[in-house]
């Protein structure tokens, strides 16, 4: 209380800042090659798949209008959404497993954000030049040359983006028909909207947002650190070696603009561009490669060999994720392979309990919703059991075209005295006459009035 408080100087800082533009230097090397392989593979798949035909239709088509999802030989209905959930869980566990072993390799090599940024950066380099040329161009006043270069870049970006948006919509609308409409400028309003929407998203994310998507928006990026441990491979700088010549190449190639020499940071997407850059510099100065390399925390502190790193691969965390991944994948594949392309819903008529008809027979009415999810037509027989003498009072054969559904009113009769008054469990069975494996059973109740 007695001593006077020291003068505390304060300043008001803004809690937001303009984004610093990042112009990553082009990098060549092992890992860059791997990334380009991933770019080619994923994009050949993405842009090519909608054009593949099969069984006289588009092989992969998610037809939202008629609620049928064609996946090669498979036709999935909204009722099969559980398989989508299964697929997502498999993807999640795949990500967990890979992340635990090798860090953010998904982010660095295969994530669409990385892949499209790579493509857009390639275009940028071809038009505006390398890193230093681009930085210079940024600082230049708006000359004719700058306008032309910027215009050409955005045009090229826009074309790739539109093609991407078009391809994406081509998974939901027959792509050939869509191409026809697009060329004739006769796209429907919604098709046009979604093509432009996804085109804009591609252009915005890969052209403008880039690393900000990973830093501020991506949920995966945030929770992947939960899978890391001291044996996870990360892009690391070996401080103990002391070979750094401070050329700052690792900083210049970094797509998120960080300095890997400061250690593991949340911005690092594990793309290994700095490894490639540093290796090439080490080659030039005649030092061994690997000043920056994929290593684990334990390996760095303990000076482990790669054999020692590999030995830690079989640790409980990896085994756990691995077991869960393979168990779910096996269950999923089994369920998908064994699924019956026939579905049945039984709805009992609620208007009446039950009625007495000729000869004192008791009758209940049901509505059977039969869904033939196979691609060809079938003739089905409806049977009922559960109460002695129970039978179908009218036509028990139903024909359904491929991938169609029908509500069939069905009267079930039992002879008098075969069941006391009250509710009795019965079972409906619908089976295809030409295919014994197409058979489903559904429970229902039969009510005998007092």
């Amino acid at each position: 209380m007695n001593a006077p408080e020291p003068m505390v100087k304060e300043a008001v800082v803004k809690m937001y800042a303009r984004r610093e533009d990042i112009h990553p230097r082009e990098v060549k090397g092992r890992y860059a090659t791997w990334r380009w392989v991933c770019v080619w593979l994923t994009q050949a798949l993405f842009y090519g798949l909608p054009w593949l035909n099969m069984h006289g239709r588009q092989a992969v088509l998610f037809d939202l209008g008629s609620r049928k999802f064609h996946l090669f030989g498979l036709v999935l209905w909204p009722q099969d959404f559980i398989y989508l959930a299964g697929l997502l869980i498999i993807c999640a566990y795949g990500l967990f497993l890979v992340t635990t072993v090798a860090g953010r390799v998904w982010c660095g090599y295969a994530c669409p954000q990385t892949v499209y940024t790579e493509i857009f950066l390639w275009i940028e380099r071809r038009i505006e030049g390398n890193r230093s040329a681009r930085i210079r161009l940024d600082r230049q006043p708006w000359t004719m040359e700058k306008t032309a270069k910027r215009g050409a870049k955005h045009l090229a970006w826009g074309l790739v983006a539109l093609w991407t948006g078009f391809t994406f919509v081509g998974y939901f609308t027959p792509v050939r028909q869509l191409a026809h409409e697009a060329l004739g400028f006769s796209l429907g309003p919604w098709e046009a909207f979604w093509v432009l929407f996804y085109g804009f998203a591609t252009y915005g994310n890969a052209g403008w947002m880039r690393e900000q998507v990973c830093k501020y928006m991506c949920p995966y990026a945030r929770f992947q650190s939960a899978m890391f441990d001291r044996d996870t491979l990360i892009v690391s700088y070996d401080t103990a070696r002391g070979d750094c010549i401070d050329c700052s190449m690792c900083v210049q190639v970094c797509p998120t603009g960080i300095d890997i020499r400061k250690g593991l940071q949340y911005e690092c997407i594990g793309c290994a561009a700095c490894i490639d850059a540093c290796d090439s510099v080490m080659d030039k100065v005649g030092k061994p490669r690997g000043l920056i390399r994929y290593a684990t925390e334990n390996a760095l502190t303990g000076r482990w060999s790669s054999a020692q790193i590999k030995r830690r691969l079989l640790r409980p965390r990896v085994i756990g994720y691995g077991l869960a991944f393979f168990a779910i994948a096996a269950t999923f594949s089994g369920a998908l392979a064994l699924r019956t392309p026939l579905k049945l819903d039984v709805i009992r008529d609620r208007g009446a309990m039950g009625r007495e008809v000729e000869d004192g027979m008791i009758e209940n009415v049901y509505r059977l919703q039969i869904m033939n999810t196979a691609e060809r037509e079938h003739l089905y027989r409806i049977e009922v059991d559960g109460i002695p003498s129970a039978g179908i009072a009218d036509e028990d054969l139903v024909e359904l075209a491929g991938a169609s559904t029908r509500a069939v009113p069905v009267r079930v009769r039992i002879q008098p005295g075969k069941a006391g008054s009250g509710s009795h469990p019965i079972r409906f069975t619908v089976s295809a006459l030409d295919d014994a494996s197409l058979r489903v059973t559904e429970k229902a109740v039969f009510i005998v009035p007092k």
């Binding site: 505390v8 300043a11 008001v12 800082v13 984004r19």
Partner: protein, 307 residues
Amino acid sequence: MSDFTSGFWNWYVALITVLSIFGCGLLLWSQSKHKVRIGQDGQPEKTTGHVWDEDLTELNTPMPRWWMGLFYLTIVFGIGYLILYPGLGSYAGRLGWQSSGAYRLEVKQASLDYGPLFDKYLAQDIPAVARDPQAHEIGQRLFLNYCAQCHGSDARGNKGYPNLTDKDWLYGGEPSVIKETIMKGRHGQMPAMGAALGSDKDIENVAHYVRSLSGLTADPVKVAFGKPKFGACAACHGADAHGNPALGAPNLADKVWLYGGSAETVMETIRKGRDNTMPAWGEFLGEGKAHVLAAYVWSLSNEGEAK
């Protein structure tokens, strides 16, 4: 239209809404700046000054500027929304949007989409529509949606709801009459005849006579006493008890009973009368759907001709 009983609540809600938006803006503005200490190097410190658990400090890593812009944009959007759409107290919004209007728009769009299909069927007569397999499927779906609650999924009816698959019709089974029934509905009334017929004994006698007409077991003595009393019923049901489709009076000489044919039930019908309604569907369904439905219902009892 306002649901409030006084203007107070309107202003109360509107004021809270406006203050909330204003408060959000104020919060955003106040939190976008922070006071930090100047460090040894003369630069502002990189931490917010918040220290906890002895040595954990909070970095003041700034957010991207565009992100802050997005927050302000949501406020602008909110204000724009409240101007255009209902939301501020009982203010209706400049666009005059209403959920009922959106519903009407969807119905209008649906009738534009499906209108031509039903127009095609409207141009055909009902037996021709009944022969069309697509119309049959549409008709069945319409029936399951709108009719099956009372008449059953199999159209065989329930107590009080006629069976539509037999040849017995209260108002006539011609295609045009079926359509009229669907469009305009029916109100079937039988007055209570207890007082007109006399004592309980008389009612029982008439019931036995009526049962005898369709060959059901009946006491011959009661039948004999009941027969002359039937005159009171003949006005509607006819002297031969074959009914009158113009009035919806059922034929009492067949085996079809809408409410049941036991002596007790027939007596109850005579004593208390019956009052039954089939709602009019014309306005709700429109003539096109009613036409297709009529064809479906007609085909149920005219299978041979329909196929």
